[in-house]
């Protein structure tokens, strides 16, 4: 499609157009007329422990505990995880499974908090990020619960660790917000431009990079103006760049390409080409975490569509979505459901009791006019419209063909895992095929199979080891037994009573030996207390483990 042409953008930066993309109706003005409104304190919050990519946080509180606003209630577990905090002060009502914002509608572990209405906070103190060790700063961000607010919720402290070999030369603040309807980043930029850039200063410091670019789609002139004005006083060079409005221009790899011309390798991250991308909302939250010491307690959420008071709300994490809608004036009559996220990549929310989490940037109330039920799908006519719209330069109809036939290997061979699930293909398909549904199905099926395969391999190894162990035990027993029998035989034949059959005597001896052995074995069985291990016992166990390992080596299979 020859779309690799370079167009000079405003400010003289040469922009690079990625292939494909679509331009659905924007509907952004629905929610931009009002400023960001804070939500009043609600009586009850449900805070899921799994709000970010990686391991879920481990609950730190128990039923009946009193918590304060900003108190850590979920401990980060493992390297890729962040903390979770109480959104207000109150009492822990429950720690258990509650419906969460997930396309499956399955419950997950949450901490339910009853607000006491006082909203008392823990002591929060700013940190001096310039003087901090990079590791300490990252640990602080992890404990502040910082995860990307653009939708992927990847822990920020991990992204801020450039690693040893990798040099990050450019930090991109993603204010493109290419999905229709969503305006939370737009409003954040309009109202908190200076704070965003203050947060970016910390990121720049942590990454050790020079260039800072802010990419904003050219349908947001107010946000651009606000960011430009703030950039003058940022204290470091910032370039605010208007990028053409084209979905999915706000995808990390797409934005990085548009702004720098560097194409992220397939299967890689933008950091592979020295670019790190953060959402503007994340920069704002990071600023608060550093300058105020405030954990991620709330986020800006766009409530829009078929709702009485569409707009952007500052919503505490854990606010049930039903309550959020009520605060936005409630759904208008004949609403037909909710979308979490944008219309291109979001999902239908099965359960409105589910809470707002760090990933929720937008709640769209559907109705039949704005979101008519999709026309019935027809077979694919291989028109190639999807391929022309695909920003990843894939051949979506081929992947669809194989995913539909459940020929997962072939689907993968057509680069299924390069698909970013942006939905452009499904948007343009004249046959209205739910293409992305097939890709998601195929991907999760492939992952599940890989897991199954790993489990089967582990089971096979354990089984083979067990067989081997049993063999060995049998052999050892037999050897011991044979040795014993020989001894006894020698003894008995010596004292053999005259006239007795030597064969019968041998049998007798064997029997005696067996009985002796059984007696010994019986005595040998001592009840062991495995709760309180002495050092000696510990050592013994270790020895056994070592023997096991040796045996494994001996046999050659794990």
């Amino acid at each position: 499609m020859g779309a690799r042409e370079q167009r000079p953008g405003a400010g003289g930066r040469r922009l690079h157009a990625f292939n494909g993309g679509v331009h659905p109706e924007e509907h952004k003005s629905v929610s931009t007329s009002r400023p960001i409104q804070p939500l009043p304190l609600l009586p009850r919050y449900v805070v899921p422990m799994r709000q970010h990519i990686g391991n879920p946080a481990a609950p730190l509180v128990q039923v009946g505990d009193k918590v304060l606003k900003g108190q850590m209630i979920g401990l980060p577990e493992g390297a890729i995880s962040v903390a979770v905090h109480a959104p207000t002060s109150g009492t822990v009502l429950a720690v258990g499974h509650r419906p969460v914002t997930h396309p499956s509608g399955l419950p997950d572990i949450c901490v339910e908090i009853e607000a006491d209405g006082e909203d008392r906070a823990v002591a929060m103190a700013p940190v001096d990020w310039r003087a901090m060790e990079p590791g300490a700063l990252r640990a602080h961000l992890r404990d502040m619960g910082l995860a990307g607010l653009g939708g992927a919720v990847f822990p920020s402290h991990v992204k801020l660790d450039p690693g040893k070999e990798r040099k990050i030369h450019t930090l991109i603040l993603n204010g493109a917000e290419c999905e229709p309807w969503i305006t939370c980043d737009d409003l954040t930029m309009r109202h908190h431009a200076a704070e965003i850039l203050a947060g970016a200063a910390v990121m720049r410091h942590a990454l050790g990079c020079e260039t800072v670019l802010v990419g904003i789609e050219d349908n947001k002139p107010e946000a651009q103006a606000a960011m430009r004005a703030a950039a003058e006083h940022a204290g470091y060079p910032v370039e605010v760049v208007a990028v053409p409005t084209r979905y999915p221009g706000g995808g990390g790899k797409q934005l990085a390409y548009t702004l720098t011309g560097l194409a992220t390798p397939s299967g890689g991250l933008t950091t592979d080409v020295g670019v790190q991308v953060f959402n503007v909302g994340t920069a704002y939250a990071l600023h608060r975490a550093v300058a105020l010491g405030e954990p991620m307690l709330s986020r800006i959420v766009t409530v829009t569509g078929h709702v009485a008071r569409p707009g952007n709300y500052e919503v505490r994490i854990g606010t049930p979505i039903a309550d959020l809608l009520a605060q936005a004036g409630g759904e208008l009559p004949e609403a037909t459901g909710l979308i979490i996220g944008g219309p291109m990549m979001g999902f239908d929310l099965p359960e409105t009791a589910a809470p707002v989490v760090k990933a929720v940037n937008c709640v769209i109330v559907k109705d039949r006019l704005l979101f008519p039920p999709p026309p019935a799908p027809l077979p694919c006519i291989r028109c190639g419209a999807c391929a022309r719209a695909c920003p990843a330069d894939l051949q979506p109809f081929e992947m669809y063909w194989y995913a539909k036939a459940k020929d997962l290997g072939k689907a993968q061979a057509y680069s299924l895992f390069d698909c970013i699930e942006c939905g452009c293909c499904g948007y343009v398909c004249p046959s209205h095929i739910p293409l992305v549904g097939y890709y998601r199905f195929a991907k999760s099926e492939i992952w599940a199979r890989e897991q199954e395969k790993a489990a089967a391999d582990a089971a096979r190894a354990r089984h083979e080891f067990r067989d081997f162990r049993q063999e060995r035990e049998k052999r050892e027993k037999a050897e011991k037994f044979a040795a014993k029998a020989k001894e006894t035989l020698a003894a008995t034949t010596a004292t053999a009573e005259p006239g007795e059959d030597p064969e019968a005597a041998r049998k007798k001896a064997i029997l005696a030996a067996a009985m002796e052995k059984a007696r010994q074995a019986k005595e040998g069985v001592q009840p062991k207390n495995i709760d309180k291990l002495t050092a000696a016992q510990q050592k013994e166990i270790e020895e056994i483990e070592a023997r096991r390992a040796r045996a494994v080596e001996e046999k050659g299979t794990p």
């Binding site: 799994r50 969460v100 997930h102 396309p103 499956s104 399955l106 997950d108 019935a376 799908p377 027809l378 077979p379 459940k406 739910p434 549904g437 097939y438 998601r440 199905f441 991907k443 999760s444 099926e445 599940a448 199954e452 489990a455 089967a456 391999d457 582990a458 089971a459 096979r460 354990r462 089984h463 083979e464 080891f465 067990r466 067989d467 069985v525 009840p527 062991k528 495995i530």
Partner: protein
């Protein structure tokens, strides 16, 4: 006549030589069939196929002594893949065998008398415990083979179906009926 024969024979020899060389030079190192079949089997080691484990069953299939439809945990998918591998028609699960949802064994820790009988039965060493001590099952290693159920003298082991959790949840196959499209 003679020269024609010689030429043809010569060509035959040369080509044959090339083929033979190529066969050695480009030989693809292949897993033996047993390994390939074993890789498809789910390694539950439950013995429902009538063999004392997955590997013996794989060996029997490879020798042509067993049918491919005797493994309930492998399910229809397993049979299909096996049929593909062996170039035969897939068939429904054998008689008297039924596919059950994937489960794990759980020991009722209050009833367990610590007899170690289940430990000896478990094909993958998924049970830990010592004599006269309460036993427990490592869930991640249990294959759900049910072999530990019969030996338990106090019937304290039960099978629990694995529930779908958020992290094991899978996107469903999009179903729409073309034939009912209107």
């Amino acid at each position: 006549m003679l020269s024609a024969l010689l030429i043809l024979g010569g060509i035959g020899l040369v080509l044959g030589g090339i083929l033979g060389w190529a066969a050695i030079r480009f030989r693809v190192e292949d897993d033996p069939l047993v390994e390939k079949i074993d890789a498809i089997l789910p390694q539950t080691q439950c013995g429902q196929c009538g063999f004392p484990g997955c590997k013996p069953y794989a060996e029997a299939i490879a020798k042509g002594e067993a049918d491919i439809n005797k493994c309930p945990p492998g399910g229809d998918d397993g049979i299909r893949r096996m049929a593909e591998l062996l170039g035969v028609e897939p068939k429904p699960l054998g008689e008297g065998l039924a596919h059950k949802p994937k489960s794990v064994a759980v020991i009722d820790e209050n009833t367990c008398i610590g007899c170690t009988l289940c430990i000896q039965a478990c094909p993958v060493d998924a049970i830990v415990g010592a004599a006269k001590q309460m036993h427990t099952i490592i869930e991640a290693q249990c294959t759900g083979c049910e072999l530990c159920l019969p030996p338990c003298p106090v019937d304290c082991i039960s099978m629990v179906v694995i529930r779908e959790e958020i992290d094991s949840w899978k996107w469903r196959y999009p179903v729409y009926m073309l034939k009912q499209a209107a």
